[in-house]
Symmetry: D2
Subunit: 304 residues, 4 copies
Amino acid sequence: MTSLAEQPAAAAGGAVAGASGPDIARLVMWCQDRPGIVASVASFLHRNGANIVQSDQYSSDPTGGRFFLRVEFHLPAAAARLAALERAFATEVAAGLGAQFRLRDNAVRSRAALFVSRYDHCLLDLLWRERRGELPIQTVQVVSNHENLRTDVASFGVPYEYIPVTRDTKAEAERRELELLRGRVDLIVLARYMQVLSSDFLARCGVPIINIHHSFLPAFAGRRPYERAKERGVKLIGATAHYATEDLDEGPIIEQDAVRVSHRDSVAELTRRGADIERTVLSRAVTWHCQDRVLLDGGIAVVF
Amino acid sequence: MTSLAEQPAAAAGGAVAGASGPDIARLVMWCQDRPGIVASVASFLHRNGANIVQSDQYSSDPTGGRFFLRVEFHLPAAAARLAALERAFATEVAAGLGAQFRLRDNAVRSRAALFVSRYDHCLLDLLWRERRGELPIQTVQVVSNHENLRTDVASFGVPYEYIPVTRDTKAEAERRELELLRGRVDLIVLARYMQVLSSDFLARCGVPIINIHHSFLPAFAGRRPYERAKERGVKLIGATAHYATEDLDEGPIIEQDAVRVSHRDSVAELTRRGADIERTVLSRAVTWHCQDRVLLDGGIAVVF
Amino acid sequence: MTSLAEQPAAAAGGAVAGASGPDIARLVMWCQDRPGIVASVASFLHRNGANIVQSDQYSSDPTGGRFFLRVEFHLPAAAARLAALERAFATEVAAGLGAQFRLRDNAVRSRAALFVSRYDHCLLDLLWRERRGELPIQTVQVVSNHENLRTDVASFGVPYEYIPVTRDTKAEAERRELELLRGRVDLIVLARYMQVLSSDFLARCGVPIINIHHSFLPAFAGRRPYERAKERGVKLIGATAHYATEDLDEGPIIEQDAVRVSHRDSVAELTRRGADIERTVLSRAVTWHCQDRVLLDGGIAVVF
Amino acid sequence: MTSLAEQPAAAAGGAVAGASGPDIARLVMWCQDRPGIVASVASFLHRNGANIVQSDQYSSDPTGGRFFLRVEFHLPAAAARLAALERAFATEVAAGLGAQFRLRDNAVRSRAALFVSRYDHCLLDLLWRERRGELPIQTVQVVSNHENLRTDVASFGVPYEYIPVTRDTKAEAERRELELLRGRVDLIVLARYMQVLSSDFLARCGVPIINIHHSFLPAFAGRRPYERAKERGVKLIGATAHYATEDLDEGPIIEQDAVRVSHRDSVAELTRRGADIERTVLSRAVTWHCQDRVLLDGGIAVVF
């Protein structure tokens, strides 16, 4: 089975009402650090008529580390010329540096599937931001193991697939999910989806998966985290958005934030404040991912 | 051996340049919740000529919970009358409610010993705030297992005792510490003191101990926490001030805070930002403790 | 013309899914400060079988200031007994103190009208929080001088009235608004309503009006504030929720917050971040107002 | 009269215990934006043996805006080679682009004079951070119009000059200040210096001046700002660090931050919290300035 993203992202089409304007594209690239990388990339872009408008780079170590680059550039008729530019960059620059790279038109949105269970706060915030043009995604499918959010999702004009999951039906449910999404998505967002995805699913889906979960100081693994945070009298509660990996809740961290709470807050109030911080952190993480601002240095997410 | 605080706190004397003005005192009280507690306390204060200027209360559960109260009141000639008021309150109010309580003149500062190892940031911030009149403590002694901060402390006019600690001398060192502080302090602050105090010390010292330590999302127990936070790519680092108990780093949490960091921050920079947040959190925790704003509901610190 | 709120709030009915549970009511009271107020109130509640579960008080000055009190209490069969308790409190306590007060069942929600122009972020956040049971209001009417949000509002089941406003029709539009809302609301929320209400409207509507507007350091009065913030290179943008008064944008401040921005943020991005902080600040302010947590000390909003 | 900074900064010598390590230098450059700038700079550095380890750039507008660049690079034997590199860069790159630039060894600290009146919080925080090696400055002189901080400053080993200022002696005082500092400093920091510097002083001193002042939402110009913030019931207080210009308090903003306050905070407490935020904001601004992270785009401070 091939990746869910087998069809080109561009097929999803549609311009984002973003700040970037037309004819803006981006290059992200990573390789072993060595002198001359920036000169090589910048010269390539210059002689192809591209003007760099924003650039971020990071080296994990000045001597012998890994190098990461993200460049936004203005290129007249970018949409028509990007495929040729990609081929040229591969042979003229990337091959010599042993670099991996992605080259994308900023106007093309990522196609996303949103997985959700019962809680609506993360899901609705993503759909609402997409509709406002704040989020460079196009949600092509919502998948839920519950029925309760069907009407809400319908008002955004997005298909809703109810796929219940029990211990016995989990393998079959995951098979249906993969079938449903095959070739249609570039990204899966777990917007408070309370089922653990199998390592088989992770291996076969072929697209990045972003998850959101609560975070506390100190951390509480396991069940009923807000009850335990209450019992411990924590003064901060937070949320962490990360890529899903086989080590549950241990994938690279994209974004975190926290808010103050007090002994007066009931478990219900802690949960409510947690929901506010979860939706904020997840929408930032999804935005940055879809803008190719997140590059992986082993287990560290470099966020430009 | 009796508590370090065997002599009355008032003996340390000295007015705090605080916001409260003269003739302000405070009552803190805790007991099983039941109807009429506030009425009983308020009536007592009223008929004794005290005018309540601030009041906080908390019930862990409206039916059958624990009740906590903190009241600040204006009482003409408070200093002279507080001892009699305390005796009257014990018999007229507290006995009937099965309540424990403390009654203190706001003008009297807590006597503190500050324990420190090599890092100066928490220690100097506390001493500086005390000198400015921001912190209602009187530091009577600094204890360190290193010599390096002696000159800094001298400039604040505070005695500095060097008590080195090795595995073999630890028991003797703790004996010296208890001897040095006996009857002189109301509070011990571990201002980045890197030695674990024995349960024997905790049991014998007889005064509260406030500790500060780094906190991360997720948490990293053990050694080299900033290195591990770097390896994990965390986006927030924090600090927690808590009462020291036998479960190391597990005592009731008084205050927490966190700041944003990024992949660009080196371990040195993470440590520096950690120092900033540690000194801020510790000074808040010490202030609130010394204002009797922190009451314990089992393992939860109720902070008024 | 009488106040918009001429019918009793209780008529709007409906329990809030709040943290407070059943049989919880609240008393808010304000008067000249003097000794014995708390004792008087607490004794009254005690002898009427009410158990105080939360209490906040504030005195603008211990000697001769204004006194403010908010008490939540548990009272068996609160709904049935509150009217009689109110009459008793008026004669037995408030009259003697020269105090004003409100006594309300926590289960009764405030009836609100939301005014909006073109921007949806504040409006949708309030409606969504109301639907989740987070916000103790019942929105009975949306009023807009534009048509564009009609469909969104319909999905929440709330009536939407389009009342266009031009310079020539403003007086007539305000007359229609007052007519539409008469006797139906306890609160008007200006959720990014870009029309200035006349002082005549303010005088006649008879209910509090909460407004939200952007805030900057330094402040930029007048038009195009985000453009001007961009030109000035501000590093923080904020929002302020306040009661509307005749001095435009100068009413008592209920809540404020701010977020960091940088030179990289375009005017569009500043506006977007401003929208996020506006909706957060407004929903807090409305929640606190509807919980009777906001009392006025002249031009200062005391927020318990 | 020539600039205070007439002697080269390098004369102040001394390595900073920074994160950067040895042989790290930085280039900052600004010019009209046009295609190929990054390629030109990167190629120059590459052929001179420098390896870029961090790079930030900003264009005020992709078409026709101003371009700003800051690059940190590793260069073997940087200290010995920087002067030659500077000459080569001027002719080979900057001249053709019409660019202005600075090229500096990261190991060289800026020489600073700190001006202060009576409040110690900003001054002591800067001196303490310098001593810890957190701040890349070398304070060569403290100037004050009061005597009260002399002892504190002496403990850091920094000369303290008392220059009183009255309306009649102001011109003479400024003349003494300029004389005292001539050729000795790269930067003046107004660390709560309550005298307004004349435009003549600003014109003649020839080095940047960083100022800190309180900020509120809304803003309160003029005297007694904390009293007025109290009267207005603000919920946030902040601080702004900016370059001093002839328009008092209107120079380019380098950094801002804010903290929450409430109606309970007295004017004294507001002032205390204001002091905390002022020292934090000022130390960040000074650090960034001394790392050449702050470039001016007209009235906007671009902070890399």
